[in-house]
């Protein structure tokens, strides 16, 4: 055994052999374009916010989105005047587009938390350039979602009854109801998402404060930056807090859609009363959310020339997540059939037959096309690396996830146990105006966000550069 030992450290030879042996297509794609420094990253992202001239496209986009907000305001006003009778809901379908849209929006929000929290814990570096954007999307989606349960109570001016407070009626909320759990889950989710987002923004707000030339702009960002000065002690505590928030958000985001699914699973309606609802809903939420992130990121990256920061690798990874969660969703659709047939229960069996061949069969087929077939394109690298095809698939999924909630909610309610109580559900003008209005609200908030706040986390992007790696003497060995 006395042969001469090669004393060269392994890590010093490995890169060479890698270059020689591994074909380029197997090497990891970088998460940031070449030629960037701390300064160029800072300047590129902060200039989008601080420049004086606003692109005309932004005004046009905001104007269209604000049109939606106007429609929403009119719809809400009319709803308050006339009551929820202006919607298409009635016996037997008491939950219609109000709840479909609520679940659709809240599901979209889940991808933001997944990207910012779960991918952080899993050390997925590529999340860095899309997390801020996705978190903003979460907040605005939750804001749009929150409108619906608040308004569908019928007398929204009494919504505060949902919260437990000592009152002269001597009454308390009914805490055994999943609807009450929902109040707590959604309000906690909204609060924690806002905290997470704001904490992530603090160092970047300090950058904007320091880069702004107009004194009022400087003061505005300065006020929200809270006097952040990048102290090493602050950074340590900041990163600790950020990691703890990620750790807390992870079970939170899983609990939110789990509790939303309890709203259905606890009821006895065929098509709702199923034990696999929580994981099915959570996977569907992530699926829908990633589709929305793609829907927003692809145009934004082009419009603001962010190709160096949101690279093809990011888009491709999102395509893969879309495929993986899409397969889970398809598995759940298949399980619905298995449970229904295996149970031998007449009502479960009829529910499935009604879905596939009943009056809403078209929507069920469309659901399979959108959520089952379209994401299968993501198996192929050619489609995953094409912004056009990614966008097309994402749009299919956006529609598909809305259809899924339609199939679950009205299509299950409209024919339950007693044929004498069967009926049909159609959205009215006001159902659709509320929906379009909430999309307008979502996009208005998003347009304001990209104009006034950095849509990519500047300080986290800086850490991606090799120059950001520094080592103390003790660690060098």
């Amino acid at each position: 055994m006395a042969t001469t030992k090669d004393t060269t450290p392994v890590h010093e030879v490995r890169p060479v052999t890698q270059e020689l042996r591994i074909p380029a297509r197997y090497l990891p794609t970088p998460t940031i374009g070449p030629g960037h420094s701390f300064a160029t990253i800072t300047d590129h992202i902060s200039t989008i916010v601080l420049r004086r001239k606003t692109p005309i496209g932004w005004f046009i986009g905001l104007l269209i989105a604000m049109g939606g907000v106007g429609l929403l305001s009119i719809s809400i006003t009319w709803l308050l005047v006339k009551g929820i009778g202006i919607w298409g809901i009635n016996h037997p379908v008491g939950w219609g587009m109000d709840i479909i849209n609520f679940v659709w929006w809240i599901g979209i929000g889940h991808a933001g938390t997944l990207i910012s929290a779960i991918l952080l814990l899993l050390r997925q570096e590529w999340r860095t350039s899309i997390n801020r954007f996705a978190e903003a999307m979460t907040l605005f989606a939750v804001a749009s979602a929150g409108l619906y349960p608040a308004l569908h109570t019928g007398r929204p001016w009494f919504d505060y009854w949902l919260f437990p407070y000592p009152n002269t009626m001597g009454l308390w909320p009914q805490f055994r109801s999943p609807l009450m759990w929902d109040v707590f889950a959604v309000s906690t989710y909204a609060t924690v998402s806002a905290l997470f987002w704001y904490v992530g923004l603090i160092p970047d707000l300090a950058t904007l404060r320091d880069r702004a030339t107009n004194i009022w702009v400087k003061r505005a960002y300065g006020a929200f930056a809270l006097g952040w000065r990048g102290s090493a002690k602050h950074w340590l505590r900041y990163e600790h807090a950020y990691l703890l928030l990620a750790g807390l958000s992870t079970p939170l985001v899983l609990s939110v859609h789990t509790i939303v699914s309890f709203d259905f699973a606890v009821a006895q309606i065929p098509g709702w009363h199923a034990t696999f609802f929580p994981p099915y809903f959570v996977a569907g939420a992530v699926f829908a959310g990633f589709a929305m992130v793609l829907t927003l990121a692809i145009p934004a990256r082009k419009f603001f020339r962010l190709e160096d920061f949101i690279t093809m690798k990011h888009l491709e990874n999102m395509g893969k997540v879309l495929l993986a969660t899409g397969l889970i969703v398809v598995y759940a659709y298949a399980m619905e059939w298995f449970y229904g047939l295996y149970s031998g229960n007449a009502f479960e069996g009829y529910m499935l037959k009604n879905r596939a061949t009943g009056p809403y069969a078209k929507m069920y087929v469309a659901l399979w096309v959108c959520n089952g077939l379209a994401p299968q394109l993501m198996w192929f690298k050619r489609f995953r690396t094409s912004t056009f095809w990614l966008f097309v698939v994402a749009m299919f999924v956006n529609v598909g996830m809305w259809l899924e909630r339609f199939v679950i909610i009205p299509a299950s309610l409209h024919r339950d146990f007693l044929p004498s109580s069967w009926g049909m559900y159609h959205g009215t003008f006001w159902d659709w105006s509320m929906f379009i209005g909430s999309i307008g609200l979502f996009f208005s908030l998003l347009f304001l966000f990209v104009r006034f706040l950095p849509m990519i986390s500047i300080f986290e992007m800086r850490t991606l550069l090799p120059e950001a790696q520094a080592h103390s003497h003790e660690e060098a060995h």
Partner: protein, 183 residues
């Protein structure tokens, strides 16, 4: 704002500006090894090991977050139990009054909510933020600390602080410039 070993002299400290993270980390480590105890470093992004280099290791956040989380969990559970069992007993479907599994989701959400508030407010409070004024903001080029420059300040309240010595010491690490920081 008292000094540890010395009265306030009108000088907060001496600050050195570096162009890269490694230079800052080396300077901070050397300063600590040299015996300086009152110092801080500033960087545009978190640098691993820098807080330890300036003599800071425990954030104290874990205890805050754990306490808040436990309080939230117990508080949420108690709220459901008190409301639906003690104050106004509700019989739902013949279930026992204290059907505790039904209190779990709300207890869980309250635990997360309070723990998250504890993490954020605790981080800000322990960091002493918001703090609109700080002496380092007097440094002309300090606005670069949020872009691509790195700073190390040795504070005047350090018992070892001697103005000329400190300037010479910082000069050794090839800084871009070394300037005094007034209060």
């Amino acid at each position: 704002m008292g000094g540890i070993g010395k009265p306030i002299t009108g000088l907060y400290g001496v600050i050195a500006e570096f162009s890269d993270a490694q230079a800052l980390l080396d300077a901070a480590n050397s300063a600590r090894e040299e015996g300086y105890t009152e110092m801080d470093a500033f960087s545009p992004f978190p640098i691993h090991g820098l807080a330890e280099a300036v003599g800071f290791a425990k954030t104290g956040l874990s205890a805050v977050v754990l306490t808040m989380g436990i309080l939230g969990g117990i508080g949420g559970f108690f709220m459901c139990w008190y409301a639906n069992v003690i104050s106004y007993p509700l019989n739902i479907g013949g279930k026992p009054y204290n059907s505790w599994p039904a209190w779990i989701p709300i207890a869980f959400e309250c635990a997360i909510l309070l723990a998250a508030l504890g993490a954020v407010l605790g981080m800000l409070a322990l960091n002493g933020l918001p703090m609109p004024y700080h002496p380092v903001f007097n440094v002309r080029r300090f606005d670069q600390a949020s872009r691509d420059k790195f700073f190390l300040v040795l504070q005047a309240r350090d018992p070892k602080f001697q103005l000329d010595e400190v300037r010479d010491f910082l000069d050794k690490f090839n800084p871009r410039e070394v300037v005094d920081v007034p209060w």
